[in-house]
Symmetry: C2
Subunit: 478 residues, 2 copies
């Protein structure tokens, strides 16, 4: 049992050091490995399979709204990146530059895309002529590069995987509607698939995307009370259209600029899953994104009939869920630890005594609850449990989050909460960036968003005391 111990000891406890716990889980659950290029990661099969399930389900949700997938080039010529002033200012300091192709220097250097607004705009300028060509509802799945100084697997890396949607519309209203529509697609996806509750809101001007008129966001609370910006949706108005001259001939035969949006969700979402649901035994995956939903672990597998029964159950269950058998020569205890570390939602134990009783044991990863289940109804019970786990995980995450949202009426209270209690603080704001800056400087908390669901938690700005305009959710963020 020395091995058993080793696996469990390998994880720092969450309470002791949350950051170290995160790193341990990421490694021990075999999600990623570090690469030879600093700040880049190797996504291993267990991690990539989660991303594949995210892609499948999110892509289907996009397509239901009429979105089509395309692929744009990896490189952006420097002159193209510079066309929209705010955009280039936001991104130029953190892009990687290609200066040589083969043995020769390039005439113009190319940046490796940090995001593809400029490429889509360049394309739309050629591709859109008439109102008949609108709307354009395009998306791409790809990797992007941002030369970050401090990196952490999934949360912040120099290269990450994402999807970026880019749409063009005839009117400002259509663009705004699409921006909100896609934010809601993300919010529903987080809540219903990843079992993570989110706050939907608008970013302040200070926090909005480089070149956007408005940025909307969904913000989730991690187990340590910190915020994770989980997906964003931007309305560009006609700013990019004017910079790139994207015009269409309307029905009335006049030339008009298009209105554009973009929206993205990244492999960061895997970081969110880990930090919202994980525990001291490792990862806990919501059933909908668990590459393996059940691990069958035979007990005393050398006894006659046990392995056969395990394989037989696997065959039956694989018709309704994603299931594997662990038939290695490790001890059952070690297998349990591994299944828990990897966050597999259900464990099925079957041994000689169970066989005698025509039963097996189902153990939930999230609560460790055990249930003895007749072999005759194992499919039905397993599906019920997976559904229940998915639901309970969301409810627990929501209860945890709600218990860590505070209200502050004045600045002393605000600072004390931020200082002593992990979580978010709702407080009123005057709308001036000076107060945002001061709060950040004093407390390291940032404005996460101006939530769509507002509540008047005071009448004056929590920072300067002047009349308040809106409630903001504040928090320390990843």
């Amino acid at each position: 049992m020395a091995e058993d111990k080793k696996l469990v000891e390998a994880i720092t406890s969450m309470e002791e050091d949350f950051a170290q716990w995160y790193t341990d889980v990421v490694k021990k659950a075999e999600l990623v490995d570090y690469a030879s290029v600093k700040g880049c990661m190797v996504i291993k099969p267990a991690g990539y399979a989660i991303w594949e399930l995210i892609q499948q389900q999110l892509d289907a949700a996009f397509k239901e709204t009429g979105v089509e997938n395309v692929y744009m080039p990896l490189f952006i010529p420097e002159s193209l990146l510079q066309k929209e002033k705010d955009h280039v200012e936001g991104f130029a300091p953190e892009v990687a530059w290609v200066t040589h192709g083969g043995l020769e220097p390039l005439q113009e250097r190319l940046c490796v895309r940090p995001t593809s607004e400029t490429l889509f705009c360049d394309f739309y300028a050629r591709d859109i002529q008439s109102y008949r060509d609108l709307p354009k509802l395009y998306n791409q799945w790809c990797s992007v590069v941002r030369w970050e100084k401090t990196t952490r697997p999934f949360l912040r890396s120099r290269e990450f995987l994402w999807q970026e949607g880019h749409t063009a519309h005839a009117t400002a209203q259509e663009a705004e509607d699409r921006t909100i529509q896609m934010l809601n697609v993300y919010a529903d996806f987080y809540e219903q698939v990843l079992a993570i509750p989110v706050i939907r809101g608008r970013k302040t001007d200070k926090e909005k995307f480089a070149g956007a008129e408005a940025t909307y966001t969904i913000e989730a609370m991690m187990h340590d009370g910190k915020a994770l910006q989980s997906a964003t949706s931007h309305n560009f108005g006609d700013g990019f259209a004017k910079a790139f001259n994207i015009q269409y001939t309307d029905k009335d035969n006049t030339l008009k600029y298009v209105h554009q949006t973009s929206w993205g969700l990244t492999t960061r979402s895997i970081g969110a899953i880990i930090m919202v649901h994980g525990d001291d035994s490792g990862l806990v995956l919501p059933p909908k994104v668990a590459p393996t939903q059940m691990m069958i672990i035979p007990i005393m597998q050398k006894k006659a009939g046990v392995l056969d029964a395990a394989y037989n159950l696997k065959e039956r269950l694989s018709k309704v869920l994603r299931v594997k058998v662990d038939d290695t020569d490790k001890s059952p205890g070690y297998k349990f630890s591994e299944q828990e570390m990897r966050g597999i939602p259900l464990r099925l134990e079957i041994g000689p005594k169970d066989l005698e009783k025509n039963q097996c044991v189902l153990v939930r990863r999230d609560t460790r609850e055990k249930a003895f289940v007749s072999l005759d109804e194992v499919e039905e019970k397993a599906l019920e449990l997976l559904k229940q786990i998915q639901k309970d995980m969301f409810e627990r995450a929501k209860a945890h989050r709600d218990a860590h949202i505070y209200e502050a009426a004045d600045y002393e209270e605000f600072k004390e909460i931020i200082d002593t209690k992990p979580g978010f603080v709702n407080a009123m704001w005057c709308g001036e960036q000076a107060c945002e800056d001061k709060i950040k400087e004093d407390t390291t908390a940032t404005s996460r968003c101006m939530p769509f669901v507002q509540k008047q938690v005071g009448k004056t700005c929590v920072c300067c005391g002047r009349p308040a305009r809106i409630m903001v959710t504040w928090g320390k963020a990843y």
Copy 2:
């Protein structure tokens, strides 16, 4: 009808200028657009949707053999690329180099991956310890960059999409078996899904992959008689393992080097579909990779009941196949041209007269054959036709290819065939690279492969007259 003409006139005929025909189809079927970066392409929705269907089906075939997906970084440090001598010599002249991250020069320049052998090896060297860790059967879907001088959409571009499988095995035999297994997966995929017959064989040493012990290939013949290398599978032996020190402790407690393979298929396969199946009206897609398998085109759509019937048929048919209705205000003739240009395998026409007779018209894209079909059995008939089209397209492509494979016993005959007849030539070879070089210099034909299925078409090398060792298939290639 001015518009009708325009669409048809837009395509050069295949006989007149095959290269121009190809370019026209790629543009008019809206598969790609040129990008601002020379030699890169924008893959538009109609093109990308084909790639998605290729990915889905090929990925499922990989997974059935135990392959798992991962993601490796985009960048390779120069020192890592240089670890395997033959490999770096093959790729260094055509890679793109990143020299700056943000505002600062990098300490070591990074190349944008042209292929990821070195990254997988670097990872395997850390990840593989024991015989228990083998085999590793990893694959990734990504884009790669090769700084080509002459480019054509899908066929040769500076960035292209592909998958690259990289496996590590305990023994040389296992590696060889896996190399052949994956070649057969590709061959079956080409024949059964893309309806393109292929010749399976081994590359000569001159043509093999940089760093490989053996490269296997599938070669397809395009409509103009030229060859397209359609997918390759490489056996690396333990060459990379020695360069990267990838060792495992075997059951007998000794350290051994792993044996490795890699194998890839690219967006080039879309070029193959175009050039094998296309005709003077545009693209012809095999049903299994047609994003839209049937276009419903209402005739006299303003007449009562016609559009409703079209929508109703769409709803019924969408349960069994991928179907759309073209309800735009274009003329039916123009809609027919568009559906043909885009290669949609089946057209369903329905008008007032058809409605009276409770029927519709199904028109095959490949043969233009029409069938009157009762509305009561339209699902059944449509599925039958799609199956038949898939089968016939393969048979026609095979008949065309077989009619353009020649045998040559001596060099005069060889040169005359290559000079006057489009197609492949089977001829004997002594095994010396000097003869390969001479044939290429004299005729521009290259050795496509040494087919697995051999035939003795002579006793002496077609070039030098010395005793022959093997039959080679020769041809001009893309």
